[in-house]
């Protein structure tokens, strides 16, 4: 049976053009001499120079990267625990509630998560005196709360594919549960842990809304600087920043793709 493929191919080409032309234009205009982003006035790399001299933006980027790294690491721990709880222990008290709490952050609008966490932090400060001020810690906690849900999805998919015989064999051979976890389970789910870490890192680096709510004076993350600058109008520096981000992401995806490629056995 020969199916006509051209209508589907047209949609596919259109769809990918829709996804990639804006990114292409963004990159193109980052090399534009003119301040009026969309009027071409010759090739220039001066916006990259300005970007690298923009102290406020660099400081914000450094803060964002530190928050993202802390968030990703702890979110992988929490998310993996949550995923194991759901795959290992078929029945436990409050399982449905647990699943609900783990799914809701995936779709909950950012404004709700941001506002509700801020009000929690304020209430905690009023009653317990902690957190004394808002910033690095509160943003990290907020990011971990939704990132762990994404990590749990990724790790859970991997855990359900795992062959239980591998762990059972290790147990039968006398290995203690903790040893089995460290030497059998963790290496087997390592690719999912890495994917989850990268996902949590990106989500944190990208978040404007939640961080804006739960931050305090003095802690300005990269998206907040970008947002403030974008609200003032288009700025070629943002194009330069976008180009750098796209370059880094593409490079990491290629490296991760090569590293995680299933090795062929000889």
């Amino acid at each position: 049976m020969k199916r006509r493929r051209w209508p589907l191919l047209t949609v596919l080409v259109f769809g990918y053009a829709f996804l990639y032309v804006p990114i292409g234009l963004l990159i193109l205009y980052s090399f534009n001499e003119s301040r009026l982003v969309t009027v071409w006035a010759g090739f220039s790399t001066k916006w990259y120079g300005e970007l690298l001299r923009n102290q406020q933006l660099l400081e914000a980027a450094w803060l964002s990267i530190r928050i993202a790294a802390v968030n990703a690491t702890l979110a992988v721990v929490l998310g993996t625990l949550a995923a194991s709880a759901l795959t290992r222990y078929r029945r436990f008290r409050g399982r449905t509630g647990f699943e609900l709490l783990l799914t809701a952050p995936l779709v909950m609008p950012d404004v709700i998560i941001g506002l509700s966490l801020l009000l929690l932090f304020v209430a905690l400060q009023e009653t317990l005196g902690w957190p004394a001020s808002r910033g690095f810690t509160t943003i990290s906690i907020a990011h971990m709360t939704f990132s762990m849900a994404y990590v749990a999805v990724v790790v859970r998919a991997r855990l359900t594919q795992l062959d239980p015989a591998l762990e059972e064999a290790a147990l039968d051979l006398g290995a203690r549960p903790l040893v089995v976890m460290l030497r059998i389970t963790l290496p087997l789910i390592a690719p999912a842990l890495l994917a989850g870490w990268l996902l949590a890192f990106t989500l944190s680096l990208d978040d404007l809304v939640i961080a804006s709510f739960v931050t305090g004076p003095g802690a300005t993350t990269l998206p907040m600087v970008v947002y403030a600058s974008v609200r003032m109008g288009v700025s070629p520096q943002i194009n330069a920043l976008a180009t750098l981000i796209v370059a880094i992401v593409t490079l990491s995806v290629i490296i991760a793709g090569l590293a995680l490629r299933p090795r062929r056995r000889a």
């Binding site: 969309t38 903790l178 976008a242």
Partner: protein, 305 residues
């Protein structure tokens, strides 16, 4: 291994199950569930010129006399002022229509990817996911440049002779739809692909053998079998879009009234925390049914990779 360490490990193994469950459970309870209780509480408070800017719900007047003040004015105001009702309705309408747009573009794309030759599939999927890894904010920003009246889109349309004067797209509802379609398309395509790639194509061959035309087979076999993917993708787009802030703020104009943006303004510009909390409660109420739906779906699909 020392005896003490061995004993500690055994104990850890013993405590493995309760700890594995309790640590993430407590975390989510403290930082995800408890905040909603506090939001509800503050939505019943009064705005005040204090730090934090709301009144306490209760205080001890005298020994043994507890005074509780519940202020329903925030909800009253949302009910009385048509601004809030129209923002809620508009948010639902924008979310519904953009979900439909994502489905109309996403379904054929997911179908094309699922039916593509094996070696192409990984690359095609990767290209869908890749923009998701770059900054969301910057992708929305890209459209400000494109949709401007002197932007490349208008230049292109003028050059093609399709229009005579530049169109005003930026800061309209249309720009918001474009931005949402652009940002949320991957969320529609991925669950659809996951669903369609598991489809048993021999069912379509059977339909063809029994004399069914390709389009009829699509409507009667493929579409019903991919209903789960359609529902999952639609909910993944619909729910967050109802509360979306960045896209209506950067691409929308004065007529793009959405509840997420209103909540942001009440909180950051008007410093009316109790009203913002009341809006959050209403938004949450609106999303309750979609939440339950996605939860059911997740439970059904949870065991599958």
């Amino acid at each position: 291994m020392s005896k003490n360490r061995a004993r500690a490990l055994i104990r850890l193994g013993h405590w493995g199950r309760p700890l594995t469950i309790a640590i993430p459970y407590l975390w989510l309870g403290l930082f995800f569930l408890l905040p909603f209780v506090i939001v509800l509480q503050i939505s019943l408070a009064e705005p005040a010129l204090t730090q934090p800017p709301y009144t306490a719900l209760w205080h001890w007047v005298d020994e043994g006399l507890l005074e509780i003040r519940i202020n329903l004015m925030n909800f009253r105001m949302v009910w009385d002022d048509s601004l809030y009702a129209s923002a809620l309705l508009n948010s639902l309408r924008v979310a519904a229509l953009s979900t439909l747009l994502c489905l109309l573009l996403g379904y054929p794309m997911a179908y094309a990817i699922a039916t593509a030759p094996e070696r192409w599939r990984v690359i095609l999927l990767m290209l869908i996911v890749l923009p998701f890894w770059t900054s969301f904010l910057i992708r929305v920003y890209a459209w400000i440049g494109i949709l401007k009246s002197q932007g490349p889109l208008n230049d292109l349309l003028l050059a093609l002779g399709l229009i005579e004067t530049p169109l005003t797209i930026l800061h309209t509802q249309t720009a918001v739809y474009i931005g949402i379609l652009y940002s949320y398309l991957p969320f529609m395509i991925l669950p659809l692909y996951a669903n369609l790639s598991r489809l048993d194509w021999s069912l379509l061959e059977a339909a063809a053998d029994l004399g069914c035309r390709p389009f009829g087979a699509f409507l009667r076999v493929t579409l019903p079998l991919s209903a789960g993917g359609i529902l999952a993708g639609s909910l993944l787009v619909f729910i967050p879009v109802v509360g979306e802030f960045v896209i209506p703020d950067l691409l929308g104009g004065p007529e793009t009234l959405m509840i997420g943006k209103l909540l942001w303004t009440e909180f950051f510009s008007n410093k009316d925390w109790p009203l913002a909390a009341a809006l959050a409660i209403l938004l949450l109420g609106l999303l309750l049914i979609p939440f339950v739906l996605i939860q059911r779906l997740e439970q059904r699909l949870g065991g599958q990779p």
